[in-house]
């Protein structure tokens, strides 16, 4: 069983939903990433998504764009990133998901990249520009190695939800809003409807995680009560990292994580 799957069944047994946190690796440097990871683990994050920067992050809003640019400027490279993952693996058993863009895997070759990532300790992938139609080679490469987490959106047809859910392992990522990643205020009715429809289609075969624009404990609570199996928070963490001195990161991230995690228990 994959680490992610195990995590979901473990939470299930405790009547908890998953809190998934996203941070950008190497933003603004490796040391900060490690401190942030410690904070996330202490605060109770169930799964950690690590962003690997891409020069052209077209599904991301200003916060993650900026983090990508800085991470790249600071010299984040694939080999260095895998080293960082190994360090994180020594600290924690928390499932680690790598979020980046298709070209990063494509360039090295899906198989090679996925094998190396797996060896370093990565449990799954999220590629926002990988559509199901183009995913054959990627899926073959990941088979039996890592989970493949696909995204759906509130405008995805029922037929496609089924198809995409079938190709997804670990969890299915429901994009909450029409838009890019980023901190947004307010919860839309169409998102709540989409959560319900998606769960109806997936029939519990794969957990449904809701992300994009989720930033407060209140958001987490609302999505959990609407039926989400997991809630994903990203830009809000990056904002804390942006505004906190290095020696306070672990503690700040820890207490924010705790406040979010509280809302996943019911």
């Amino acid at each position: 069983m994959s680490r992610i799957k195990e995590k979901f069944s473990e939470l299930d047994a405790k009547n908890e939903k998953a809190l998934i946190s996203y941070i950008m690796a190497g933003f603004p440097n490796e040391k900060t990433t490690l401190s942030a990871v410690k904070g996330l683990v202490k605060g109770g994050a169930d799964i950690i998504e690590l962003g690997f920067p891409f020069s052209d992050p077209l599904a991301d809003g200003p916060v993650i764009q900026n983090a990508s640019t800085i991470s790249l400027e600071k010299g984040t490279k694939i080999e260095k990133f895998f080293k960082l993952v190994r360090k994180i693996r020594k600290l924690t058993d928390t499932p680690l998901v790598l979020m980046t863009y298709t070209n990063i895997l494509y360039k090295m070759g899906y198989s090679k990249f996925i094998s190396e990532a797996k060896k370093a300790g990565i449990d799954g992938f999220i590629l926002p520009d990988m559509s199901i139609e183009e995913s054959k080679d990627y899926l073959n490469a990941a088979k039996g190695k890592t989970d493949t987490i696909f995204l759906i959106s509130p405008n995805t047809s029922i037929e496609r939800i089924k198809k995409i859910a079938n190709a997804s392992s670990g969890f299915l990522y429901l994009v909450a809003v029409y838009g890019t990643t980023g901190v947004k205020s307010g919860i839309k009715n169409y998102t709540i409807k989409a959560i319900k429809e998606t769960r109806k289609q997936t029939k519990g075969k794969v957990p449904v995680g809701v992300g994009f624009g989720v930033s407060t404990p209140k958001d987490v609570k609302r999505y959990v009560s609407a039926g989400a199996d997991a809630v994903i928070v990203g830009s809000a963490f990056l904002k804390i990292i942006e505004n906190t001195p290095q020696n306070k990161i672990e503690q700040k991230i820890g207490s924010f994580t705790k406040s979010l995690k509280k809302e996943t228990k019911y």
Partner: protein, 396 residues
Amino acid sequence: MKYPKSGRFGEFGGKYIPETLVPAVQELEENYLKFKNDKKFKKELDYYLKQYAGRPTPLYYAKNLSEKIGGAKIYLKREDLLHGGAHKINNTLGQALLAKKMNKKRIIAETGAGQHGVATAMACAALGMKAEVYMGYKDTIRQKLNVFRMNMLGSKVHPVKSGSKTLKDAINEAIRDWITNVENTYYLLGSAVGPHPYPVMVRDFQSVIGEEIKSQMKKLNNKTPDSVIACVGGGSNAIGTFYPLVDTNAEIIGVEAAGKGLKSGFHSATLSAGTKGVLHGMMTYLLQDKEGQITETHSISAGLDYPGVGPEHSYLKDQKRVKYHSATDTEVIDAFLLLTRTEGIIPALESAHAIAEAVKVARKHKKSESIVVTLSGRGDKDVEEVQNYLNKNVKD
């Protein structure tokens, strides 16, 4: 490769897009397939192309230039004479009309040099619509007259300050806008790039160039051209020129921007120096580093300053049907001045890349042979850039 249903030209192309855009791209494809053979749509587009944009454009025998070089006969396909001064209007009229049929109220576009932005703003004004145009911040400064033009035409320009602040970032930002406003927005993409069906659709709208060349050459010489040359940025004027002629015996050459030289690292010659990758929804040749990060490009012509290329060109390159060469900034300036002085035609710097190649090819060919060069745009927008270049190089 008539209409690639799979969205692929060989292994190239496809739809690497965020899921939110899938319904929009499907809707676009359905409507494009419906309207492309619709008599009324075709008639309406034809009307605008003729009466508004000025088609057909002449195929002009550049006698002075040909004689000066002393080789094959050079013919110029005068897309520079179109309304707006470039081939871009062929595509923007087609897509704007399609958007109107699709009842889309909001049009967005990206632009590099501003030529596609201006052509979008014109087509939208003519059809009673408004556009919002994303333009790299650097380009809004380099090409500020085009910013004024777009504003006057009733379109809004959004300067893009992310990434390298040029065309690729403008495309990123337009895609982000599209993701956010997907329900009412039409993305009017300016070259034969992006996810399927854009590369095919833009090629089809630009193919009027090659179709006219074919019939004009037949009238003039009763044969197809021996060589055909066009410059390649994203590749829309080139694919429009080449596509109707790939089944003939013509030698076909696309010309990329070699900037300061292919080995200098300062160029935009994607097909000559790139590797396969995925960007802006397509699998194609890209300028990227070993890890898949897209690298910055350089060209004296802003319109060729793009690290990707249309997927059909990648296919034609690998099939060896089309040769892709390149011209350096210096060669381009020489070609710009040569055409200006011999023929009294000021070419766009983009088009001057094709002229530079034509000069080389003409020298190697017999007088009885004919070369057609697509002059994709006029160079009024570039005279300041050229003058600056000349001043600088006199000083150096």
